[in-house]
Symmetry: C2
Subunit: 427 residues, 2 copies
C-alpha cells in the first residue's frame, strides 16, 4: 500500500510545505478567541456525524486491506469503526469543546519595586506533530486537543487506517472552516510513504515544536531516538505496587488486584509487586491467591516461591519487563527504602503506589521515587488524564521537561512573560 | 593547553563515571531538606572567602596563559579575578542561599469525586550540564543555583579559566561536605579535552537531564545542534522596540535610548527600532538624534533615510543581525500589525517592547508576538532574572518547552503528581 508515485524528494518537499502551512496556521490560532475554537470543535463534531456514511465506507477499505494482509483479529478490531464508535468520536470533540480554554490563563503575576507589573501567561506551544498507529479516533482526539490549546497539528496516521483518517480529517477541516479558522490548523500527512515520518521527526526546519507518538514501544523508541525536537511520551509503564508493613491487608488485596488486572494492556497497569518482609507471611498469600484465582501468572523471587510455591521463578529480566498481560513479578523487600531502591533501579518513572497506614512511610516513598505519578493507597490504574479530571489526554509523559504525567490541554501550552510599565528604563 | 595524556576512550570513561556520580548525587539531593541546601550554600560562600589566596594564585596561572596566547584585553578582563570579584562570588552564593526553596512547592491541588486527592508538586529536574566560557564566577553561580533546586551539576568550564574554576570548585565541594551532602553534587570536568563536551552533549547514557550553555553564539549553536538532551538557551537576542502612533514622545525617546545603549553587549539590548508611519514625522527625528548624540550608528530603510538623512542604508541582513554594539537598524512600519509581522519574520523570540498609550494596541502586540518576554512601555533591558525578582538566573531561554525567559531556581525544577487515596480502585 506504499504510494509508489512519490519520490523521496517529493515527500521532503511535501512535508516542508506542511510545516510552513502549520506554522502559518499556528500564528492565527495563537490569537484565536476561546469562542472561535469552541465553535470549530462543535462544528467538527457535527461534521463527523454528517460524514458517518463516508467514514464507514472509507473504513471498509481499510478493513479489507487489513484482512487481505492477514492482520490479527485484535488489530483489526482496533481499526474498526462502527456507528457507535463514530458517535463517540463526535462526543469526544464536544467534550473537548466544553473544557476550559487553557490559553491566556495568568499563571503568576507580581509587581516589582519599580512599579513594573510582570505576568506569566499561558500561550500555545505552536505546532504539534502526532504520530499514531491503528485507532482512527486518535485523529480527531489529538487534532481537537491540540486545537483547544491553540496549536496547529500535523497528524501522521498508521498506513492501516489511512482511508478512515482521511475521511475523519475531512470532517475536522470542515469544522475549522465553519469557524473561520485556517484549514491548515489540522493537517493529515496525505501519503503512506514512510519517509514522511523521518521528515516530521527532523522538525521540518523549525516548524514542529513537539512530537507526540501514540502507539507501541517500537514506535515510541524510534521517535525518542530520532526526533530532533522535544517528545512527550512514555516508552513503557513498568508500574509497581509496594505493600508496606503498615498496609491494611484488605486494601492491599483490592489495590493489587485492580492495579494488575483491571486492564492488563494499559500503561498504568502494575507489572511488579513488592512486599515488605515484615508482612510477607501474612499478606503475600492472600494477595497472590486473589490474582491466581483471576488467572494471573505469578513470577517470584526465591523467598516468594518459598512462601507461595505455585509461583514461577522470576529472572533479572522480569524486573525490567512491561508484560502488558496477566503476569506479575513479585519480590520481598526490606521496607520502604528497599522498595524505593528496587523501583529506581528497574522502573520506568511512570506510576508507583504504596499501600500503607503509615503516613511517614508514604511520604518517604512519594518523595524518594522519581516517577511522574506516585500514589498512596490508590491503584496505579488511575494514571489517566480523565481520572485526573483533565477531561482528555493526548498521552502520558515520563520525561521531566515541560509535561509529565497525563498530557491534557493545559500541558499543550507554553507561556510568555508580559511586562507592563509606565515608561520604566533600567538603571 | 590540551591534556595530551588522555585518549578519547579515557575521556568517554571519565565522563560516563561523572554521569553516574551525578545521578547518584541527584537522588540524594532530591530528598535533601531546604536547611541542608542552605547550609551547603552558606558554607560554600565561607569556603570561597577562605580560599581567596588559592583562587587568586590559580587565576594568575590562567591569566599568564591567556597573555601568552595573545588573547584580547576584554577577554582577559572577563577572566580576571580580584579580591572584590571573589567577594562577589561569595555574596552571590549567600543570595542564592537566601532564596525560597523551589522544591516541594504545591503547584496545584484538587480533589476528585471519588475522594482521591491529587497534588502537583515541584521536584528537582535531576542532573544539569552547564557548559560555559571565560567568566569563572559562572562556576559558583550555576553550581549554586542548580543545588538550590535540588539538582546535581556537571560543570564544563572554558579552557582559559580551568585553573581558576578548579580552585573555586574545590571551595564548592568543601561547602557540600560541611553540610553532609555528596561531593558529587557539583562536579567540574577535570580535563580541558574537548571530547568531554561531546560526551556531555550526548547525555551520558541518560544521566544528564538538561544542558545549559553560557557563552557566545557559536557555543550555543553547537550545543543546540548536537545535544541529545533538552537545552535551555537563547541563540541570540534580536530585540525590538516598536514606537506606536499613540506613543508619548518623551517615553519613546527614553525607552529606545535605554533599550539600545544602557548596555549594548547584553542579550536584552534592542537591535531594531520600528516606528509607526503615523508618527514618523514627529517621533523619528528626536529618537534618532538622542541615539546619534550618544554615538550610536543608525542603519535605516529608504523612508528612514528620507526623514533622517544621516542614517546609513540598512540591508535585508540588518533585520536579522544581533549587533551587540552601538548600532541600530530602523524601519518605518504601518502600525502594530506590520510591527508584529516584521518581528515574527526577523526576530529571535527573546524580548520585544511596544511604546504606546493605546491599551488595545498594546494587547494586540503582546498577544501577537511569540517571544519569551513582551513589554509595554518598558525597556527591553529588563530582560533579566534579577530584574524580574527571581534573585538569580542561569540564563535566558527562548525555547517554548519548560523554561522560557529568565531561568532561575524555580525553572530548574520539574514536578510530579501525588495521588492520595483511602484504598480507591478504578472501576
Amino acid at each position: 500500500m506504499l504510494d509508489k508515485t512519490r519520490t523521496p524528494d517529493d515527500v521532503a518537499g511535501l512535508m516542508a510545505g506542511i510545516g510552513r502551512t502549520a506554522r502559518a496556521a499556528a500564528r492565527r490560532l495563537a490569537v484565536a478567541s476561546p469562542a472561535e475554537k469552541t465553535a470549530a470543535l462543535v462544528a467538527m463534531a457535527a461534521a463527523v456525524r454528517a460524514a458517518r456514511g463516508e467514514i464507514l465506507a472509507a473504513n471498509a477499505l481499510d478493513l479489507a486491506a487489513m484482512q487481505g494482509a492477514g492482520q490479527a483479529a485484535s488489530f483489526i478490531d482496533r481499526g474498526t469503526l462502527t456507528p457507535a464508535r463514530i458517535e463517540a468520536i463526535a462526543v469526544a470533540l464536544e467534550d473537548i469543546a466544553a473544557l476550559p480554554d487553557p490559553v491566556g490563563r495568568t499563571l503568576a503575576a507580581w509587581e516589582r519595586p519599580n512599579g513594573l507589573k510582570i505576568e506569566r501567561v499561558a500561550t500555545p506551544l505552536g505546532v504539534i506533530g502526532i504520530i499514531f498507529e491503528s485507532r482512527p479516533n486518535v485523529c480527531a482526539d489529538a487534532g481537537g486537543l491540540a486545537l483547544k490549546a491553540g496549536n496547529a497539528a500535523i497528524l501522521r496516521c498508521g498506513s492501516d487506517s489511512f482511508e478512515s483518517c482521511t475521511a475523519i480529517h475531512r470532517a475536522l477541516v470542515a469544522g475549522l472552516e465553519v469557524a473561520g479558522l485556517p484549514a491548515g490548523a489540522i493537517q493529515l500527512v496525505p501519503t503512506r510513504d514512510r519517509a514522511a515520518v523521518g521528515a516530521l521527526l527532523s522538525g521540518l526546519g523549525g516548524n514542529v515544536d513537539v512530537i507526540v507518538p501514540r502507539g507501541g514501544k517500537s514506535l515510541v523508541a524510534r521517535v525518542q531516538a530520532e526526533a530532533r525536537v522535544p517528545v512527550f511520551a512514555h516508552l513503557e509503564g513498568i508500574c509497581h505496587v509496594y505493600v508496606d508493613k503498615a498496609a491494611d491487608l484488605a486494601m492491599a488485596r483490592a489495590i493489587t488486584l485492580n492495579a494488575k488486572l483491571r486492564r492488563t494492556g494499559v500503561c498504568g497497569s502494575a507489572e511488579t509487586l513488592l512486599v515488605d518482609r515484615a508482612v510477607a507471611g501474612s499478606h503475600l498469600g492472600p494477595i497472590l491467591d486473589d490474582l491466581a484465582a483471576m488467572g494471573c501468572e505469578i513470577r517470584g523471587d526465591a523467598e516468594v516461591r518459598a512462601l507461595w510455591p505455585a509461583a514461577l521463578a522470576a529472572t533479572e529480566d522480569d524486573w525490567r519487563t512491561e508484560y502488558l498481560d496477566a503476569i506479575l513479578s513479585v519480590r520481598i523487600v526490606d521496607g520502604v527504602d528497599a522498595a524505593i531502591e528496587h523501583i529506581e533501579t528497574y522502573g520506568s518513572h511512570h506510576t508507583e503506589a504504596i499501600v500503607t497506614g503509615d503516613a511517614e512511610a508514604a511520604e518517604r516513598f512519594m518523595n524518594g521515587i522519581d516517577s511522574a505519578i506516585v500514589a498512596w493507597n490508590a491503584s496505579t490504574q488511575f494514571a489517566d488524564g480523565g481520572e485526573f479530571g483533565m477531561g482528555a489526554e493526548i498521552g502520558i509523559a515520563t520525561g521531566k521537561m515541560h509535561a509529565r504525567g497525563p498530557v491534557g490541554a493545559e500541558q499543550l501550552t507554553s507561556f510568555k512573560y508580559r511586562v507592563i510599565g509606565t515608561g520604566q528604563t533600567r538603571p
